[in-house]
Symmetry: C2
Subunit: 530 residues, 2 copies
Amino acid sequence: MPLGGVEEIGSNMTLIKTSNEDILIDCGILFPYEDFFDIRYLIPDFSILDPSRLTSIIITHGHEDHIGAIAHLISDFPHIKIYATKFAHNLISKKLAEKKLTCQYHLYHSKEELRFNEITVTPVFVNHSIPETHGLIIIHEELNWAQLYISDFKVDLTATHEEPIDLDFIRSKLSPYKNTAYFLDSTNVLNDGKTTSENELTKDLKSILARDEQRVFMTLFSSNVSRLNTITKLAVESGRKIVLMGRSLFTYMEAAFETGHLELDPSKFLLADQGKLVESKILVLLSGCQGDFLSALRRFSFGEDSNFKPQPEDLVVFSSKVIPGNEKKISRIYNKITEFGAEIITASDALIHASGHPGKKDLELLITAFKPDYYFPIHGESYMLRKHKEFIEERFPEIETQVIYNYHEVHFREEGIKVEVHPPLEPVLIHGRGTPIEKTQISQRRKMATQGAVFISYLKKSNTIQISTVGLPLSAQNLLPQLEHRLLKLINETLYHRQEEYFIDQVKISTRQFYNNILGYKPVTEVHLY
Amino acid sequence: MPLGGVEEIGSNMTLIKTSNEDILIDCGILFPYEDFFDIRYLIPDFSILDPSRLTSIIITHGHEDHIGAIAHLISDFPHIKIYATKFAHNLISKKLAEKKLTCQYHLYHSKEELRFNEITVTPVFVNHSIPETHGLIIIHEELNWAQLYISDFKVDLTATHEEPIDLDFIRSKLSPYKNTAYFLDSTNVLNDGKTTSENELTKDLKSILARDEQRVFMTLFSSNVSRLNTITKLAVESGRKIVLMGRSLFTYMEAAFETGHLELDPSKFLLADQGKLVESKILVLLSGCQGDFLSALRRFSFGEDSNFKPQPEDLVVFSSKVIPGNEKKISRIYNKITEFGAEIITASDALIHASGHPGKKDLELLITAFKPDYYFPIHGESYMLRKHKEFIEERFPEIETQVIYNYHEVHFREEGIKVEVHPPLEPVLIHGRGTPIEKTQISQRRKMATQGAVFISYLKKSNTIQISTVGLPLSAQNLLPQLEHRLLKLINETLYHRQEEYFIDQVKISTRQFYNNILGYKPVTEVHLY
């Protein structure tokens, strides 16, 4: 039963229920899908989880949409064991340490059989865009069922920086079973072709780094360690010193170093205040390729970084793609950099970004290697899930393909499958230091954001009124004496002797009408009466 | 001097200054480029305009980014004359009537010479995506200067629903002059090819409308009257009754009917409450292809329309593109429709949308017809302007190409050009019923939206405190008794006899600290003291 990750890209979390034990796969965050005003992220509602049955969580890889909510989970369920590879473990344990949480780990390796009460789970290495990503082969011997669950992957058979996905192993593991099912990634299913290999990027990255510009700035997804290795190696070869800017680059570089994934000695990297003094050629790596408000890239692009500002002689390279929803933030960055005169190269101009998700040809390769009986598109928005299903049905009509959404429960029986639909729980909005905030409260915030606020207090004894406004146009604020006059008149003529509740209501109504007549909208109004 | 429209797509407005008269081209709105909380649009700051010199405004076409701010302009400068074609005039005069404004018009036709004191302006018909779009040929005989200014166009030489752009006329008008300049559209310059002709869409639209589904829903840009004609004609041919939903469809249909652009008798169209009763095949046209919050398409997609809700047997067709920035709103609509089970066809699945803006090949055709001495990319964001310039420089190195931004003033002299840079004025934010709101006030709103608000009043005489909160998480609201205790303690122990200003400040600081400790952020706090 997926608790997140189907219907949306993010908050990936799937519940495996066996007769005497529950096991989770992943526990990620979802970035807001509409304007919730600085809400940091959404997480699945954990209230459906049963602490007496939940024993374990298996982590497929270290991306935030798979591990980002784990501190919330462990604080609610401190007894469960986390199964992860060493890279994901490194990221998770630091996350938990920040919240002063600890927990029990099992560090798994590829092809290790993780034995639970009723099922065995065998992680199988897959290509993706962060080290040590795994799919899971879930086997229930008694029911004669084998499933392959890969939320994020691509097929990179020519990979040199890592092993290619082992299709033979997958086939050999699944073949013995009577019933088989695939749960596969829908993120990139609108791409009809084959996803680019990381190796194919070397040529263009190399020629960019070999250019004459003294300063090359480059942004990428910080968790893509293999890309970081490629870029930093090419930069050194082209005689560039490497400067790092941005917290998430340091986070992933540190994890990569500590787990043996970093090829270059990190002591070779410079900080921004050292890098700005270098007169020879440099490569400045910046995090924030999605244009996040406080990111190094945005600070730099807007000319707000104290060490580096864009100059006409600079080259700024986006070795990344635009995640849907971030188009406008990123165009503003292109525009700002252009206004400073620097040149921009994006993945539209050169082959410098490869997705980590499967195109249709990648999916075909996996299905051709072993054809399952059942097929469930996961990791995608509803529209993508449907497109994924339509593709599989057309290309492999012999497979029974079905779209499931969050809180749909797929029962695996010896005789086949049954899907049971449960009412979905709303995801929980997390703000500030990790506190949930209710949607009702967000809607109060929305009212203040779109209509401003007015605070009024009135002391009967002295017939005194005070009015404060927040977020009203100055033209309306200048009308405060008029509003005061209107309210005092209303109070003295009709409200003075009325009950408190009625009094307050009428003052609110009159205030909101006053502004509505002028502005066409009604500010949030609070009234205190003494 | 552009006052808007270069650096951004929107708020198109260009000032032509002659020695004794100022003339404007267009007066459009810009949609918010970042989150301004329900701000309706931005307009250029008119304070740079001189009422004693400004005599006229020439409108190129009726899109909102060219006429949307005209009511604001006429209310500030009621004496100026509007030059427009009958279609744009129809839209503008209704806009002004809503605000009870009137003004003087000159209805121009193609190739008419509009004579001003020093210059002559000849409108030349161009292909675009709304009827009667014109470029302007601006001639200053004395200075021997001719300019071609086309903010929005494409080259559609095979157009049948309208005249193709008349390249011969442009050449013949510009050729006699010593100095010539182009000002051309950058919107679609990242497209290396030729923009699709409206005619090419007929095939796929026809086969979609001929499908078996009883109900086909289709959305498009409401102002694209020629597309409306094509679609409604094909729908009738395929035996479908036509239902209209959405205010902007009615606005443009009415204008098209009144100006003779509508091919079908509008009495043939049904309203939604009639259309829902039809049992034969129907086509429901919906406005809101960009997913706007209150649009017909969004209401329908979310299952919130009382007449039509998506059903599994329905076909929903997007004869439109996603304007950058609207990706997430539109994906949500795709997802909602998919969750209802209906099928979706977009411009990625079939050739059912054509841009109204020139690709590189369109620009080439215009430049090949007549090669100007000077060239200025307009109508685009800074990044596009630069890409446009780079393309022209590479393809036509003999032309002097230059990027100008808003408030750059290009002086045309007999001996050539000179560009003077002026500090740009910030655009004005328009909210509610048309009232400007200051950025400082928006930032107050942002604080309330992201951190909530607390309103406190205190009556010394009775040592009574009242606290209201708006938009705080319920977990924090439950702590109000604690906050009250803390504030009363502070007041009674240290503040009671202090001056009002200090008293209020300390109560604010203590309140904000209280919440910061719990939530990690500080609500906006207002305090009244009696």
